[in-house]
């Protein structure tokens, strides 16, 4: 059975993104936005759209 301790797992996950370097920024006129914040904004828009589009589970026979 494969056993990975917590420290190894966090190191592996941390290796996916280089957090040691300088940040990446989007420059658009006077707007300066970090890529991380831009990704979060896109995720919020995606979740908002999904919340409107996806059907909400309803129990049959309940009209209220």
């Amino acid at each position: 059975m494969l056993y990975i301790d917590l420290m190894t797992l966090t190191t592996l996950l941390g290796a996916l993104v280089n957090l040691g370097g300088s940040g990446n920024y989007i420059h658009w006129g006077f707007i300066q936005l970090s890529v991380a914040n831009f990704v979060v904004i896109l995720l919020m828009i995606l979740v908002f759209i999904l919340a409107i589009v996806l059907p909400f589970p309803r129990r049959p026979g309940r009209d209220q």
């Binding site: 979060v40 919020m44 979740v47 999904l50 919340a51 409107i52 909400f56």
Partner: protein
């Protein structure tokens, strides 16, 4: 408040009997106002309107839930102290829980704000509900900002030295000094959390009082453009 030496405190009818002669007292007036505004079945209803069967309505309670996580993890950090959250593995974990619950709190709160904006959720005498939501959002930003200032690392040094000029330019720096660690810590762990929790609790009570705002009338079904001002049909005067 008057005293009645003959009153039996175990008598459940004592309140209604004494209401007639004591109705002028502030205790009676507050009690009646609270009972009128928040009857138990409205404060904790068993069922909700059918139009709530949409995922877009879940972000309010998700915001409240993540706020609870913020408060709980913040209390644990306050109990254990900086030597614990900076050094031990468990401290790092709880510190991260505190950070990520704040991230989730703002994530859900902004989507909640978008949803309520496009629903025009201030309709039907719900203006104060909307305003308390806006105020709690602004106070939450201040609470999160002071959290960044009190991280005790290079990040917090950078943020505070960058913020001081902006804050001083507003004039607020005269009594709200972002370079004063002790002051910012007290704002972060005492004043601002109290403010956020009180305003959020008032916001939730107003939601219970006025109910969830109904959707706009379907113009395709009714053959007319919906009128925002007329859409308070679920609302008693």
């Amino acid at each position: 408040m008057t005293t009645d030496t003959t009153a039996d405190t175990t008598d459940t009818t004592a309140t209604s009997v004494s209401d007639g002669e004591d109705a002028h007292q502030w205790t009676a007036r507050v009690r009646h106002a609270a009972e009128s505004a928040f009857p138990p079945d409205r404060l904790l209803p068993d069922r909700q309107p059918a139009y709530l069967t949409s995922w877009v309505y879940v972000f309010g309670i998700l915001t409240v839930t993540t706020l609870a996580w913020v408060i709980v993890t913040g209390c644990i950090l306050a109990l254990m102290g900086p030597n614990w959250w900076h050094v031990s593995t468990t401290g790092h974990f709880v510190n991260s829980l505190h950070l990520w619950s704040v991230e989730a709190f703002f994530f859900f709160m902004v989507i909640h704000l978008w949803a309520k904006f496009f629903m025009a959720a201030w309709r039907g005498k719900r203006r104060l509900t909307w305003v308390t939501g806006v105020v709690s959002f602004v106070v939450s930003i201040a609470a999160a900002f002071t959290g960044y200032l009190t991280q005790q690392n290079f990040d917090s040094q950078w943020i505070s030295t960058q913020a001081k000029d902006g804050i001083n330019a507003t004039g607020a720096g005269a009594f709200w000094n972002v370079l004063n660690f002790g002051q910012m810590l007290m704002w972060h762990i005492v004043l601002l959390p109290i403010g956020v929790v009180i305003i959020a609790a008032f916001h939730v009570l107003l939601v219970r009082r006025r109910g969830i705002v109904p959707p706009f009338a379907d113009s395709r079904r009714h053959g007319a453009e919906p009128s925002p001002t007329a859409d308070d049909r679920d609302e008693p005067a």
